[in-house]
Amino acid sequence: MMPTIPVDPERRRQVAAAMRAVLPDRCVLADPEDTRPYECDGLAAYRQLPMVVVLPDTEEQVLAVLKVCRELHVPVVPRGAGTGLSGGAQPLADGVVISTARLNRILRVDAYSRSAVVQPGVRNLAISEAAAPLGLYYAPDPSSQIACSIGGNVAENSGGVHCLKYGLTVHNVLRVRVATIEGEMIELGGAAPDAPGLDLLAVFIGSEGMLGIVTEVTVKLVPKPAAAQVIMASFGDVASGGDAVASVIAAGIIPAGLEMMDRTSSRMVEPFVKAGYDLDAAAILLCEADGTALEVAEEIERMAAVLKEAGATALTVSRDEGERLRFWSGRKNAFPAAGRISPDYYCMDGTIPRKRLAHVLERIEQMEDTFGLRCANVFHAGDGNMHPLILFDANQPGELDRAEAFGAAILALCVEVGGTITGEHGVGVEKIDSMCVQFGARELDAFFAVKRAFDPEMLLNPNKAIPTLNRCAELGAMRVHGGALPFAHLPRF
């Protein structure tokens, strides 16, 4: 837990008054009781009351807000739906939070050009819902999709179960309109396949609200597959499960989803969701095919052959949509289930080269003994993005410290085997210290050069994501206590 810093009331009055001069009254929140809901995002252990919150209605108002911030030298924290898990939208005591809550209109959905133009506050799932009558959808599907905003997705380069086959946000966003901190509107990318000059859109996506405020997004829509089926396969040990993942890919198959759960996870969720998981299996793989009915049949047959060859001890293919969803339900509910069997847990987010999966799982198993804590492994096996859940009880002396050390060891392991400290949750404030495990002084300098190119005065979401050298310290992690976390009802990856 970080200490919260008191807000200077005099400064608050000054900034709120300046904001009210450019925004309607209802768009400016300055009373602590009004700003309280903004004090944290999905990383609830870190809280800080913002100085002022503004909720602009229009792009012009966004520019006006930024002008005030520039003139008064106030730092700005953009905020979408606040579902971020790394504290990216965490407020500053001397800063303004600019919320996109009122910029929530779908401006255009077009079947012929297969694209939609939306404001940043539009929810991820709302785009697919609007496109559904046209037989189209927006592919990146973070588990938070009913709540998170497309602006937040752009800032975090969010992914989901389908991103192995359909890509991340960066592969599915064509263009963004951005209000710069210098007071101009710029467009990055476009509806054309590329834009002149350097690919600023690619560097903007995933920049965690540090380079500009997104005011409009054009997304690519893709045809909805006609059919989908999933194979549930059991393995006698995690190593052969990990190797099976490699075999599927090496056989030239890119599944629509390729996810793995270890025995701790399946035993954790089965009592709650009754998915019918094989509780004796050391690992369960869920391997999905989508496309036309014929394509799905062909791919399921090929996947089944590869999984058998790789040593699967049991295979079940979903017979209908209800069964498919049931097989997935356990995988998608691992987080709430963890909250029910353990008073506390840490959710880690790291990525490793797939070929090291078995090795990493074995090392984590050894670490369970070393740290004396259980760890449930559920993850996007297809792209190596792991979400180990470290179960602990903060009321037991020493467990919290051991859990933290365990988490740090896992992230260090990810980097050691050639992976990275975050696959999809971002760095934010949570992992800012872990950045130093992965990057050296030269890379951090280069990141600051990118930052200054967009934000010379360093006013946008300062002190997030990119650490200054002297801050490099210990590893960070997400801590959840007593299931008391925002969006507890949603699956967490």
Partner: protein
């Protein structure tokens, strides 16, 4: 290889100290692309990347290949083909000497771009030698990584203006199991309309090329999907289609013969037919090639303005891709706010302005 990097570093450091431009050069296959390097009247030394070659790591089950910049593209494609994998963006080579570094720096994609994605979509990580002679590592060899800004993708298509790409990791994909090419007799407007309609349906499209009343459409994927699409779409099958698509990619198609300046219009794919003269249209309507007619030579600037106005009106941009008078500007000028960001990025990565100065402007 360490020795080669040290030699590059020395060359970069002395160039920076003398503020003398360096021309980064791979296979020399894209000499003609981009603006002329601005040597400010002085000498330009060549930094030849070819000594830094070789595949560093390739694990088919990982879908990632990592290789040094001077590795011939053909060498990489052969290694992938052995394992039935490919570079999904099908980069044009424009000559047998093309290198991986030059391919990534040029940022060009081939026929599969509209369905599989562009080169930048597949760049996962790079090792870069910056203008101070420092070696930096961005991204990595994994598919999902949101730590720090995505500098690797920023470098894709940067034409060597931010630094020397020493090593690149690219995502690869399996070669599709089946394929077919269909030909349809269609006028320009009808072809564009059809392409956009088909793209909204779950069809295994993997390339398109329209020219002179004929639309060629490539399908790739699972056997069942390709067969079903062939039955549903009709059209004339094209035998030996691999050769056809390679010719389109390498611009050996008859449309590209001769010396007339070649313009490239990048447009929203749904843009209606543009009455600008004979064209070759790729990428489902999004990439349109145009030759400047002989009488345009007289007033190249006016012709360039026409191309740019037409492209801008449609929401895209125009590039003087090959030949012609580069004085009219090769690339479409940037909005002032964006140009300023470019300048600061250039100053950040290459403070002495030594790498390919002016090539991208």
């Amino acid at each position: 290889m360490q020795h080669t990097i040290e030699r590059f570093q020395e060359q970069v450091r002395s160039a920076a100290a003398a503020r003398r431009p360096l021309r980064i050069r791979g296979g020399g296959t894209k000499d003609w692309y981009g603006q002329r390097i601005d040597a400010a009247g002085g000498e330009t030394a060549i930094l030849d990347t070819r000594a830094h070659a070789g595949i560093v790591d390739y694990e088919p089950s990982e879908l990632v290949i990592t290789a040094r910049c001077g590795t011939p593209l053909a060498h990489i494609e052969a290694a992938l083909a052995e394992r039935r994998q490919m570079l999904p963006f099908e980069p044009p080579h424009f000559g047998p000497a093309a290198t991986l570094g030059g391919t990534v720096a040029a940022g060009l994609s081939g026929p599969r771009r509209a369905s599989a994605g562009a080169l930048r979509d597949f760049v996962l990580g790079v090792k870069l030698l910056d203008g101070k002679g420092e070696v930096l590592t961005f991204g990595g060899q994994v598919m999902k990584n949101v730590a720090g800004y995505d500098v690797s993708r920023l470098l894709a298509g940067s034409l060597g203006t931010l630094g020397l790409l020493l090593e690149v990791s690219v995502k690869v994909l399996p070669v599709p199991l089946a394929g077919a090419t269909l030909r349809f007799a269609l006028g320009e407007a009808d072809a564009i309309r059809k392409l956009n309609e088909w793209a909204g349906q779950p069809l295994p499209l993997s390339a398109s090329c329209w020219h002179d009343g004929v639309l060629a459409l490539r399908l790739s994927g699972a056997r069942a999907a390709v067969d079903a699409a062939v039955r549903a779409l009709g059209g004339e099958p094209l035998a030996d289609d691999a050769r056809f698509w390679q010719d389109v990619r390498e611009q050996r198609h008859a449309f590209f013969d001769g010396d007339a300046p070649l313009w490239r219009l990048a447009l929203p794919p749904a843009t209606d037919a543009l009455a600008l003269g004979p064209q070759l249209i790729e990428w489902g309507g999004a990439q349109r090639w145009l030759r400047a007619p002989a009488d345009a030579e007289a007033d190249a600037a006016a012709f360039a303005r026409r191309m740019r106005a037409a492209a801008t009106a449609a929401g895209g941009h125009a590039t003087l891709f090959r030949g012609g008078d580069k004085a009219v500007g090769v690339f479409q000028p940037l909005a002032p706010a964006i140009a300023r960001i470019h300048e600061r990025l250039k100053a950040g990565f290459d403070p002495a302005n030594i790498f390919n100065p002016g090539r991208m402007v």
